[in-house]
């Protein structure tokens, strides 16, 4: 050991000697080394300033003025837009819908994600078969939102295939009691693969040693699932749930194309509510206030997510 260590320590001493001999060059190098990372980061920093920092500043400033964009000389109105939004029943209804959408989607994403991932991870299947099935399971996730929406509008039409199979004739997206639930169902279908794949990757990261040890100790499969699998999956699952919640709260495209928020606002989400304020009614200030509220809601959850991620690093 000492034999191998010796030359290294000698080299180290020589290097530190070099610094003392040539201080000026070294200092110049150090300065350059300090600036270099910022040079490499400058493009992304510029992009973020233009596309994030400034627009966020602007949307906040829109939210405290009377009608911007449409009105050339807007006035400062304080929090009037916010109080108007908070006192509107529509806002609370769409917030409630969004929460329902997020929570129900999240639960089913996790259930389907774990169930499919566990089955796909089973060592009883041959790996070729497993690969093909895994690929097929991801297919719904590869479609763009308008394809998903139109496909399900076809299938859930009054005389569509789903009604034919069920022997019913329901207009799923046009029914006040069912519209919001139907959109949630479609959302679960088109986004579960993301959670399934992430959970599957986490499952594959669990060392088989744990299971072998547990088997030797006589643990049955249910005990192994709750004592080994679940604890190992927990960090990934919490991250996934936070992400899912953030994304679902922002969801608007699927609702917009399938139901347009209707009928009579029954499937309105906070996303479609904000969108309609801005791009249908041209009330950009009100829309900005609503968009700021949405952003704050998402950022609160995101802070938990960031703190988790930096701890995991």
């Amino acid at each position: 050991m000492t034999v191998y260590l010796a030359p290294q320590s000698v080299k180290y001493k020589r290097m530190s000697l070099d610094i003392r001999v040539k201080p000026r060059k070294e200092r110049k190098d150090m300065n350059r080394k300090k600036i270099t990372p910022y040079l490499y980061l400058s493009p992304i920093i510029i992009v973020f300033c233009i596309l994030l920092v400034y627009p966020i500043y602007q949307v906040i400033s829109f939210s405290v003025k009377d009608n911007v964009i449409v009105n050339p000389t807007p006035h400062f109105v304080g929090l009037a837009n916010f109080s108007k939004i908070i006192s509107s029943g529509e806002f609370w209804k769409s917030l409630k819908n969004s929460l329902e959408f997020s929570v129900v989607s999240l639960i089913f994403h996790m259930i389907l994600g774990i169930a499919f991932a566990l089955m796909l991870n089973s060592s009883l299947l041959n790996s070729r078969f497993r690969g093909i099935v895994r690929a097929l399971y991801i297919v719904p996730w590869t479609f763009t939102v308008s394809i998903v929406a139109i496909l399900w509008r076809l299938m859930l039409n009054n005389s569509g295939i789903i009604n034919t199979i069920l022997g019913l004739s329901i207009d799923w997206f046009g029914n006040r009691a069912l519209a919001a639930k139907t959109v949630i169902f479609v959302n679960i279908w088109c986004s579960y693969p993301f959670y399934m794949i992430s959970i599957l990757a986490a499952l594959q990261g669990i060392s088989p040693v744990y299971y072998e040890a547990a088997s030797i100790d006589g643990a049955n499969s249910i005990q192994r699932f709750f004592k080994i699998t679940i604890p190992h999956l927990r960090p990934v699952m919490i991250s996934l749930m936070l992400l899912d919640f953030i994304w679902s709260m922002q969801q608007l495209s699927l609702t917009y194309i399938t139901t347009g928020g209707g009928p009579i606002g029954s499937s309105e989400t906070i996303g479609t509510y904000t969108y309609n304020l801005a791009f249908k009614n041209y009330q950009f200030s009100m829309a900005s206030a609503s968009a700021v509220i949405m952003m704050l809601l998402c950022l609160v959850i995101a802070i938990f997510y960031v703190r988790r991620q930096s701890r995991l690093d």
Partner: protein, 279 residues
């Protein structure tokens, strides 16, 4: 003996479970394909069949011979490819700095990059709309290319930083000792050996751009600038729904993604699962 029966039973149960899952996942897709090969009147004809009575590719021909619809495809390719190229370039530079240097503000920057993914697109869309009109970019390719960077860059940077982190620092030092600049280290050494990570990032970025809907809807208005996701929805706006054409166009619109998926499945899955697990 008893144990092997139990294993066989478990295997059968798993296979049944997977089959049920497959029906759930794929029945809508099969139905899409089926309807694309039907005439529009057959789509709702009772009894509805998976195998069309008289399979026809009319829906595909009518999409592929319509120059307005072909334009949607061209637009989607231009926007997705250009955005992917810019994203990769900027994210490689940023990923290199984040992986190889310690500098003031690194931690907040990392946190910022993660947190940007939580900003709702609609919140940004309102100011973007005004900004793009002001700069005369509204209803142009640039309107989409520039704004797409806001959601492609954070993810690409996280992925590339993660990938470079896995490469040993000795490589950089060897080149540096030979007198190579950091620029040289990055493009001559790190980028070539990061190919798997870069391909996964590129595929994921392309997919995000190809499938983007909301920005494309609000930041363009003319038929010449519409992308495939909007084009498919526009077919629905017509008085009589031609469902078979919509399904044919959905299939055609998914082809680039399906090709990436079939030929680069492992990269695809690596990109898909990288975000939540190790970001």
């Amino acid at each position: 003996m008893k144990k092997s029966t139990k294993t066989r039973l478990t295997k059968i149960l798993i296979e049944i479970g997977l089959l049920v899952g497959l029906i759930y996942a794929l029945f809508p897709v099969i139905w899409m394909i089926s309807c694309a090969f039907k005439t529009n009147t057959e789509v709702f004809t009772v009894p509805q069949r998976i195998i069309p009575r008289n399979p026809t590719a009319d829906a595909f021909t009518s999409v592929l011979t319509d120059s307005a619809k072909l334009r949607y495809f061209l637009n989607s390719y231009v926007v997705a490819l250009v955005t992917t190229a810019i994203t990769l370039f900027v994210a490689i530079l940023a990923g290199y700095a984040l992986s190889r240097y310690d500098f003031k503000g690194k931690k907040p920057l990392n946190a910022f990059i993660i947190i940007t993914q939580a900003v709702p697109p609609i919140t940004l869309l309102i100011p973007y709309f005004g900004m793009l009109v002001l700069f005369g970019l509204y209803d142009s390719y640039w309107a989409m290319i520039v704004t797409y960077l806001v959601f492609t860059l954070p993810y690409a940077t996280i992925m590339i930083t993660g990938y470079i982190n896995t490469l040993p620092k000795d490589l950089d030092e060897a080149v540096a000792i030979d007198g190579g600049s950091t620029w040289c280290v990055l493009w001559r050494v790190l980028v070539p050996i990061s190919k798997p990570g870069l391909v996964a990032t590129a595929i994921y970025t392309f997919l995000q751009c190809w499938n983007e809907y909301l920005f494309a809807l609000c930041l363009t208005k003319s038929g010449e600038m519409r992308t495939v996701p909007i084009g498919i929805q526009l077919l629905m706006g017509q008085i009589t729904y031609s469902w078979n054409e919509m399904m044919a166009m959905s299939i055609l619109g998914s082809i680039p993604i399906i090709i990436l998926f079939v030929f680069a499945q492992n990269y695809f899955i690596a990109g898909l699962s990288a975000g939540a697990i190790k970001s």
